[in-house]
């Protein structure tokens, strides 16, 4: 009973919001903004899902994720400049960051395993180093990752036109999300990770090398961040300082969605993407602030996020 009241209440809020937005803009630009929001949300989902998986399993809040994203994007630009092969750029961007993640987990984080706060502080230090070295190597001019000819220009559906590339990103997110959910729910690896989230000692006691699972998840999360960098760099221009900006968005996604929850990452990324798109269109001066209000509200009502569990 109580639950249905909540659903009714939130539906009413949603309906009023949509009605108010439609007073401000045409239906056509409304749908454009919805797609803008969801395609930005797609990039956030790549980042937040890796972040949340790492946190759920190892309790490490990897704040270097923003730095991983930025370096991945720059590697994508370099590979595109050398070969012009987009799939190769995406792959190499991901793999390079996966190797960086391997180094981070095995060399930097291993000595302070289990100490939550030092782990977080170390990843912040790493972000500064990565950001500054990227500035030294690739310079400070904003540049996009070059995208293949086939994905350029708009796609015409009836009299509605929308950039092909953003639709491509959206499809990528759906595919990656489906793979993640399938692996998580239906395979042995997913079962290991879920078991590790619940009780690491028990998993280790069953003769499974939990440390290898840790490393695997960390490296995979890093791969997703590099992948997100190359894909996202195609329509969000790559520039210094974006590491912190994208990290902020990813953090708000997991705070709203709930740390350690994959469905929470999907929900949070869509919400944050949509809020950001409409805020930029309607109240550009408050673009960042509009993230703040829902985050504050959710923290007061549900401190562990919409889909999160008690720590």
């Amino acid at each position: 009973m109580k639950r249905s009241w909540w659903i009714a209440g939130w539906s009413a809020v949603l309906a009023v919001t949509v009605w108010w937005i439609l007073q401000q803009m045409s239906l056509r630009s409304f749908w454009t903004q919805v797609l803008n929001g969801l395609s930005f949300g797609a990039v956030l989902f790549f980042l937040a899902s890796g972040f949340t998986l790492i946190f759920g399993l190892m309790r490490i809040s990897n704040l270097a994720h923003g730095g991983f994203y930025l370096v991945g994007a720059y590697i994508g630009i370099t590979v595109m400049g050398l070969t012009g092969n987009f799939p190769l750029a995406v792959l190499l961007g991901g793999v390079a960051i996966a190797l960086l993640g391997l180094f981070t987990e095995r060399v930097l984080l291993r000595p302070i395993r289990g100490m939550e706060k030092p782990e977080v502080l170390l990843t912040i230090g790493l972000t500064f180093v990565l950001g500054d070295l990227s500035l030294a190597i690739w310079g400070g001019d904003p540049t996009p990752v070059p995208i293949p000819e086939a994905l350029k220009g708009p796609l015409q559906i009836g009299n509605f036109a929308y950039p092909r590339y953003r639709l491509f990103v959206l499809i990528c997110a759906v595919v990656v999300g489906a793979i993640l959910f399938f692996v998580d729910r239906r395979t042995r690896i997913g079962a290991l990770v879920r078991a590790g989230v619940d009780d690491q000692e028990m998993v280790a006691g069953l003769g499974i090398n939990i440390k290898a699972v840790f490393t695997g998840v960390f490296v995979f999360g890093a791969f997703l961040a590099g992948f997100a960098g190359v894909i996202g760099g195609g329509f969000l221009t790559v520039l210094p300082g974006q590491d912190f900006e994208i990290l902020l968005f990813a953090l708000v996604v997991v705070i709203i969605g709930g740390l350690g929850s994959l469905p929470g990452a999907v929900l949070g990324a869509s919400l944050v993407g949509l809020i950001d798109a409409f805020a930029k269109a309607l109240v550009p001066e408050l673009a960042f602030f509009t993230l703040f209000a829902p985050m504050a509200l959710i923290l007061v009502v549900r401190p562990h996020g919409l889909m999160g569990r008690e720590a």
Binding site: L126, V129, L286, F288, L299
Partner: protein
């Protein structure tokens, strides 16, 4: 005075006070300026230490609070043309309101969750300050914040800052030794035990955050009058993280450590980075090295050595 440790502490305090007061007679304007800056960022780092060192709550958004206070002052000075009393009043109000809003958001969180939320809070203040052009002047910031007549010369302002920072340090010293400060340490050691003892830990976090926010606000006001300028970068995560670096470099939970850490960082930044272009890399590496190899910080390490030395000579009993 209890044993030699008390005398050493007293001696160091008197010596540093004497040097501090006499400084404008000893060195040139550039160095006095650097020391003024180090005192202010030291106060800022101490406000972080109150939460991080005593409460176990490592905040990554403290610069957002100081920057809000600085913007309050700068707006009243540059855009509204108000008097200095009104400037400081609005600065205090801005810092405290932001602290209160943040405090309500964090009062039910702890650990890594607390770090992530405060990071987002600080960065949202940064986001506001680059977008809210009418109030903050966006990337250009707000230049031309004049000091009152009696503080306009650099050495006048130095002595003023020294006095304010000393008063604030004394207040912090009393706070961490009060029942409130001890309960805060209980929060760091075990929140669940404190809950069982009947403490309202959420409310405790709220108060602790407000007290810390007050000192960050004072630091923000002092800083904007020193630089006579404020821009979005002072609210950025980089600024908050720098404060945390100063705190852990000097020694978490010692209050004097963050001040020493601040002098080291400000010196490195202003003197070494004149010849070394990649300051953020240096800062990041310093972060990593301190976290990996020197988590007790300078003061923690030194007091440990001192204690061991005393114990060898039979002047003190070993801890535990």
């Amino acid at each position: 005075m209890k044993g030699p440790t008390g005398w050493v502490k007293l001696g160091l305090l008197v010596a540093s006070l004497a040097v501090g007061v006499a400084l404008p007679y000893l060195v040139d304007q550039f160095l006095v300026g650097i020391v003024t800056l180090a005192l202010i960022t030291g106060l800022f780092a101490m406000s972080i230490d109150l939460l991080a060192g005593y409460g176990g709550l490592v905040t990554l958004g403290q610069a957002g609070i100081s920057a809000a206070a600085s913007y309050g002052v700068a707006y009243m000075s540059v855009k509204a043309g108000a008097g200095h009393l009104a400037q400081v009043g609005v600065g205090l109000l801005a810092g405290l309101i932001v602290s209160a809003v943040f405090a309500v958001m964090i009062m039910r969180s702890s650990g890594v969750y607390f770090m992530m939320i405060t990071l987002a809070q600080g960065m949202i203040i940064w986001g506001l300050s680059i977008r809210l052009t009418r109030i903050t002047g966006a990337e250009n910031g707000l230049p031309g914040v004049d000091r009152p007549e009696f503080l306009s010369l650099y050495w006048q302002y130095y002595w003023f800052v020294l006095a304010v920072v000393l008063i604030c340090s004394a207040m912090l010293y009393v706070i961490v030794r009060s029942p409130f400060g001890l309960a805060l340490e209980g929060l760091r050691e075990s929140e669940s035990r404190l809950l069982v003892l009947g403490y309202n830990t959420s409310l405790q976090k709220f108060y602790a955050f407000m007290v810390s926010g007050f000192f960050a606000t004072v630091a923000g006001i002092l800083l904007v009058y020193l630089n006579q300028f404020i821009s979005p970068s002072s609210a950025h995560l980089t600024a908050s993280a720098l404060g945390v670096l100063q705190t852990i470099l000097g020694g978490v939970g010692t209050l004097v450590g963050p001040m020493i850490g601040s002098f080291i960082v400000v010196y490195l930044r202003n003197v070494v980075s004149q010849d070394f272009e990649r300051w953020p890399t240096l800062m990041g590496l310093l972060f990593i090295v301190v976290v990996l190899f020197a988590r007790r910080g300078l003061v923690g390490e030194l007091s440990e050595r001192w204690r061991a030395w005393l114990t060898r000579r039979g002047l003190a009993v070993p801890l535990r």
